[in-house]
Amino acid sequence: MAKNKKKYKILAINPGSTSTKIAWFEDEEEVFEKNISHSSRVLDRFKTIWDQYSFRKDEVIRTLEEAGFDLSELDAVVGRGGLIRPIPSGVYVVDEQMIQDARIGYQGPHASNLGCVIAYSIAWEHDIPAYIVDPPAVDDFEPLARISGQAKIPRTSLIHALNIFATARKFASDQKKKFEDLNLIVAHLGGGITVAALRGGRAINVNNGIEEGPFTPERSGNLPVLKLIDMAFSGKYTHQEMRKMVVGKGGLVSYFGTNSAMEVENMVKAGSERHRLVFEAMAYQVAEEIGARSTNLKGKVDGIIITGGLAHSQMFTDWIKERVEHIAPVYIYPGAREMEALAHGALRVLRGEEPAKRYGVHTPKVGIFYWDNIEAYVQAINYIEDYFRAKGYVFRKEDSNLELLYANCEGDDERGRRELERLVDQEVDMIIAIGSPASALAAQFLRTYDIPLIFTGLYSKEILAGVDWKKANNLYASLYGVPVEEQFENAVLRIKPDVKKIGVTYKIGELQSNIEHDRVREFCAKHGIECFSYDVQTHEDFEDAVKYFSDEKVQWVYLGSDSVIATATAKQLETITSKFPTQCALEDTVCHGGMIAYHISWKELCEQSADFAVRLLNGMEIKKAIVSPQKRYITANHDTASRFGLADKIAQIKGVKLL
């Protein structure tokens, strides 16, 4: 029976002006939702919206406790972000900077400013992450969209991002397409109306929901500017009254004194021509805005989506449809799916499907530090890059959300130090060190810096002598060393259980090689096998090694993971591999003519390192700082084995991969 997968439990919090909506999700499923109403009598007690924090938080917790939920079971809390500084769409980790901006109301006071701080607070007390998803402050504008026509007044984005992106994602999923591959126009029709052009998953243009675009049930949208100026300076109205005329008492309210579209629709149905004129004009202006957005996408529109509360009105959407369906097919998704959007955003991050972004202007930088241009290290870089891509990171492109900086030691300590200095100067957020030599150097050089270090393909943690792993909170490692005993038991001893003499190459001065060598000698001593060691400093030493092993009549040779073996070509290795059956520490050595290796997967190991990096970037918990892939592989070289008449015997080993 399939093992039950753990369900992520997520609390979504969406503060509105007179209520706080909460929902408890278990994976995609909403198991509880409640709209907690706050009377204006209570809210009026607070001087500012920010002061409502404790009251609303207590209400949220009380409601959940009364409903029998245990907050300690949560995996994350997600809040509706507020009018913070303009940011690209996405899921963001709530941090101190965001809280500061929400506190001051960077783009104005709004109940949604409380979303991030209440989420942060609950997450703080349960030591779990807090996120916001697509706040109204989302600003993905392309440069052309920022030009208003008056140099002193740049255009800014203010968008119903949460519902617009959620509906667009839902549409993409319904169409079985990738959201990022679609060109869409999404019109959110509610108390406010925003119509966005989405390209590559970004809202490249949208009418500012407060002061531009179609009129709405209570906002005036675009107005004739000169008449507005004359009115403002007529002396009849205060500044506040003018603002209220545009936002709050504009739109349907200004014509009929109500912000209820349903009431107006009923009047239309009852035969009121005046109501029909105004109501249809609102649809007319929405269609006009959709037409404008289609030009932003140069006419290449995959679909027009109409969503929000007003999309429930077929009369209204039909009026829009008849004017825009020549542009692209129109799809109606009535209602708002804000709670779902919040929870699903958090879920994507928890599942590792999307990276959570960092608030502010910071694009995270990851340094990749490696010893030399040898094949295994280049491969490691490829695996790590692939993993980042799979997790939604983009680098070396215009819309990058991650910067990768590469630093090659070129096999030289001094150069390695200079490269590390460069990474430090460039303020990398973390460094991934590939291979034992680079890891040892980075650990030594960076011991006084507070930069997380991820060791990839470290032979064993003893390589980093002097590192106090108990105290080291910024060090992570993926280990490749399969215990020597395990290697021998699964290769040499299976093929030649009575082996009496083994040769081993190692490189004096290379710590991991010396540790490995000691372990081979310990193993041999324990099993009564004579062990003959030969120090190989360069590839030229292979011939002498072979001579020594031949003189001592060794039966097998162990080729370790030192830099001489790791960088040897098949031709160079042939000196040894053609003379002796070889047990190899590295899979790569088998590819280069070694006979057999019992090993872990280099790819899996690199992915584990990249996973550390992704978790750190997303502020997610890392339960174990030192890991090693559990799965083992046996790889053998058929031609080499045939040369020693061992091909058939090796082929019988269960699970062996023959090259």
Binding site: S121, W124, E125, D127
Partner: protein, 358 residues
Amino acid sequence: MALDIFDLMRTTNNYELTFYEEPSVQLKSIIAINNTVLGPVLATTKIFDFQSVDKATQVALRMAYYNTYRSALLRRPFGGGSIVLSGNPKKVKNEFYLRALGIYVNKFAGNLFIAPSADLSDEDIKYIMRETDFVVGGDEDFMRNGMPPAKATALGIINGIRAAVKFQLGRDDISGLTFVVQGIDGVGYYIVEHLLQADDVNVIITDRVYDRIKAIQDRVPEVKVVRPGEIYKQSCDVFISCTFDSSISEEEASMLETKILTGSVNNVIYSDNIEKVLQERDILYIPGYVLNGGEIILFDNELSGLGPDVVEAQLNDIYNITLDLLRQAREENKTVNDVAISAATQYIENIAAIKKLR
């Protein structure tokens, strides 16, 4: 293994331990009396949801033990004792619970005084006073003109820290220094408030309860905030632990990047062995009971009718006492804890000897 209560009483020098339960008001209490040579017990009260009576008994006995010494170090006429009550202080307290506690305190016939604490507010004390006169910190006139007990404790700790800074860092002021405050409720709050008033001082705070963080950050946005799990990694000059529920373990001690470690709870570290770890790392450790007697000075003034205006000046005693102990510890190559216990014990013995003459 069950707790050997008598053994623990012996090792903590406690001579009386009483358990009291009043199910009708959900009151469960443990009272430990350590020493009354210096005077009636001034009991510290702690309310927490104790899952195990053994654990709560240990807490009661240890608090009583250290309370004796902190009174003696300050040469104030109070014995050491403690009251440990079961329950979540936010939920369990009500008029009847508190009045029942007052009735219980009354049974000690003046040998034990109860005082406000982090878990007993001024309002709570008023209920207790309906049933017993053996209360300090309840004199409204005195308190109105004075300072809250937690503030007196905080200022005392700050004075002690100034002595430590002088001794360890050779500095007469704290400007340019970085302070970590772990736990910002009650005493921790006042410590942070005081530090933030100083010029050019960096303060890093954390607390398990985010609301407390927010309350400070809303007033002083530039204060650095870290999550509780991150606090031991912060590099600082002085680490002040003010949390009752998380004394510092050996692993945490080995992570500390500070020059001075102290706090508001009697013993900041989990076990005495950790002192060695700190010594090896050249971190000066001052147990909390050496510095946290500010409230005792406050209460002593209330009972002796001296008035609140002299309290602040008397809190300076903690500077001098601390500096003397630090110098003595260095001269005798002992820990601060050792010399403090020995100085306090000596004082108690001297008083006991004098009392025999009466």
